[in-house]
């Protein structure tokens, strides 16, 4: 299970970084979302990977070792909520930028002049 978890964190982070470096706002939003997924799994793994153990000590536990760490789960929950809100805000901002700057480039300038001439021809 360890290699599967670490591989998925690695792939998610790498994809996230690649997409964040793209020039259009939509891939950037996607990249940030993937990074948020990666960090959530990472936080989970930091509580050590356990199978079939209760999250809080229960009365049947014979020793303190027989429960999974509840704190990372709380951290992940907080991180998910925050990432949710931030992504929603970023999408709205990206749409606003698309409307005000007339393109979805992150710098607000079209890097290919060819496309703008095509638009003019269409008009």
């Amino acid at each position: 299970m360890e290699w599967l978890i670490s591989l998925s964190i690695g792939v998610l982070t790498a994809t996230g970084i690649y997409l964040t470096l793209r020039a259009r706002t939509f891939p950037v939003v996607m990249g940030l979302t993937l990074l948020a997924y990666a960090v959530n799994i990472f936080l989970f793994a930091m509580g050590r990977l356990t199978i079939g153990l209760p999250a809080v000590i229960d009365k049947y536990a014979t020793s303190a070792v027989q429960y999974s760490d509840p704190l990372p789960q709380a951290l992940v929950l907080t991180a998910i909520v925050i990432a949710f809100g931030m992504t929603a805000f970023l999408i709205v901002l990206a749409l606003k930028a698309r409307g005000e700057l007339d393109n979805d480039h992150v710098d607000g300038v079209e890097d290919k002049p060819a496309t703008s001439t095509v638009k003019q021809e269409v008009k």
Partner: protein, 519 residues
């Protein structure tokens, strides 16, 4: 355990809630509630400072859970100092927003403003790293709203960059916090410091990596080289009161480095004691040079002020990087000065922009602007303070930092960089002042264009003067203020007391009966 420690966090939050309801009562009601609450915060923060003088650490257990199991708020001299700077700056910014009617350009200015203060004060008072992350998110989310307040093409563009880089910063913050938790098993700063001292040597590399990752995160907030590129454009394009309030936002990064790294990697930390300081010092020097070049290359006054803020941040980083109680004390003195003066300069730049009409704040000769003599004199005052010329507080702050650098092995680098950067900044600010105020076009040439600005808004001008007054006050009362910053620095370097105070605070005995649940 007094509840005083928690009030600066909850007052803006409660005010924010009331403002949502007050939205129905119109802008006047919102203004008066918001302004009164911010004034109340100033009064409160004076109480905090005096409380921090009498007892070293006020530890407030949220939910009455003992550290390290619950989240604690800790009030010490540094927290009290940061809260008081924030509240004074907020009063100035809010007064300007109200008098220039900037707050009418969007629906929820006052609510966002109060939530911003909530996030800032929370970040200054918390003693838990994850809670610091949460408060960072609160202040960032409020700042996104404030930055875009009033909207406009350039503002949206700069806002997009600001949001994206801060989201990446938040992700890195979580990675760093997660790694530290995985190794140390705690998130309470005092407990982390105690655990690092006892960490096996195999784990030290991982702890150091996570510590440096945290430094990157705080570097994004503080606009440290090479992570400053988002900052000048965002600050230059937002509305003036927001830019003024944001003068404290970069200092949040500095505060976080002093608090988190200073506590966790203190003298107690064995091999990792102060391992981050050469990075802070080196990057601070580079940031200062780039900031000085940015000041020279700026096209408009607001952009120039943003780069001046960057230069002040760089000076603070150098002070933190020198890593001695004297240097830290000088850094805190300079922090008070640079935050309040930078806030005033942003407001002043906006007054210039309003006065010059179509010429805005660009460095070109325009027609003689209304009230140029008054604004120009105050600009000169602010420029002297900001660039660190005698007799104002910027000079004293720099002298104190350079004096503290005398013992450092980096002495030659520090003094040459600070002096060269200072010279470049003085030259370029003098040039921009003369272009805007002296070399005006003659009446005939000027009247042809549509460049007639609005007359000087006297009520708004009061905010600028109020914030600039901090500079002479800092000089006149230099002795008691440096005495206070000395005490603060000594307290910060004596982190064993902090650890002991947090971990030994006991929960308040409650009268509630414990109900036993039968299986």
């Amino acid at each position: 355990m007094s509840h005083l420690t928690a009030w600066p966090v909850f007052l803006p939050l409660i005010t924010g809630f009331f403002l949502i309801i007050a939205h129905m009562g119109g802008i006047r009601l919102q203004r008066s509630i918001s302004f009164l609450a911010t004034l109340g915060l100033v009064v409160l923060s004076f109480f905090l400072v005096s409380a921090s003088m009498s007892v070293d650490h006020h530890v407030y257990l949220l939910g009455n859970w003992e550290a390290p199991f619950g989240i604690v708020l800790v009030l010490d001299k540094l927290s009290a100092l940061m809260v008081i700077i924030t509240s004074i700056l907020a009063v100035g910014a809010l007064w300007y927003a109200i008098t220039t009617k900037t707050d009418e350009k969007g629906a929820h200015f006052h609510i966002l403003f109060q939530l911003q203060l909530f996030g800032l004060n929370g970040a200054f008072l918390t003693g838990d790293v994850f809670n610091l992350f949460v408060f960072f998110e609160v202040l960032l989310l409020a700042s996104y709203g404030l930055l875009l307040h009033g909207s406009g093409r350039l503002r949206t563009k700069a806002g997009l960059h600001y949001v994206v880089i801060n989201l990446i910063g938040s992700t890195l913050f979580l990675f760093a916090v997660g790694a530290l938790y995985g190794v140390l098993g705690t998130l309470n700063m005092a407990d982390m410091a105690a655990k690092i001292a006892a960490a096996p040597s195999d784990d030290l590399g991982l702890i150091a990596a996570a510590g440096l990752l945290l430094l990157v995160v705080f570097g994004v907030k503080a606009a440290m080289f090479p992570l400053y590129l988002w900052m000048p454009r965002a600050y230059a394009n937002t509305s003036a009161p927001v830019a003024a309030l944001f003068a404290i936002m970069t200092k949040v990064g500095i505060y976080a480095i002093i608090r988190v790294h200073g506590t966790i990697f203190s003298d107690e930390a064995g091999d990792l004691a102060h391992f981050y300081t050469p990075w802070v010092l080196g990057l601070g020097l580079v940031t200062l040079l780039f900031a000085a070049l940015g000041v020279m290359a700026a096209h408009g006054l607001r952009e120039q002020v943003a780069y001046l803020v960057l230069a002040s941040v760089a000076t603070l980083l150098i002070g933190v990087g020198l890593n001695s109680p004297e240097a830290l004390s000088a850094t805190l003195y300079y922090l008070i000065h640079s935050t309040l003066i930078a806030g005033g300069m942003f407001l002043l730049a906006d007054l210039v922009l309003r006065g010059r009409g179509a010429y805005e704040d660009r460095f070109e000769s325009g027609p003689f602007m209304p009230g140029a003599i008054v604004i120009g004199s105050i600009f000169m005052f602010g420029a002297i303070a900001m660039t660190g010329m005698p007799p104002l507080s910027g000079f004293f702050g720099k002298v104190l930092i350079l004096n503290a650098a005398l013992d450092s092995s980096w002495f030659a680098w520090v003094i040459s960089t600070v002096l060269i950067a200072g010279l470049l900044m003085i030259l370029s600010v003098a040039r921009s002042g003369s272009l805007i105020f002296y070399k005006t076009l003659s009446q005939e040439a000027g009247s042809g264009s549509s460049a007639v600005g609005e007359p000087l808004n006297r009520m708004a001008f009061v905010a600028v003067i109020g914030l600039f007054l901090a500079s002479p006050v800092l000089v006149i009362f230099a002795q008691p203020i440096t005495a206070f910053t000395d005490l603060t620095a000594t307290q910060l370097f004596n982190s064993a007391d902090y650890i002991q105070a947090v971990l030994s605070t006991e929960a308040v005995a409650t009268t509630a009966t414990v109900v036993e649940i039968k299986p």
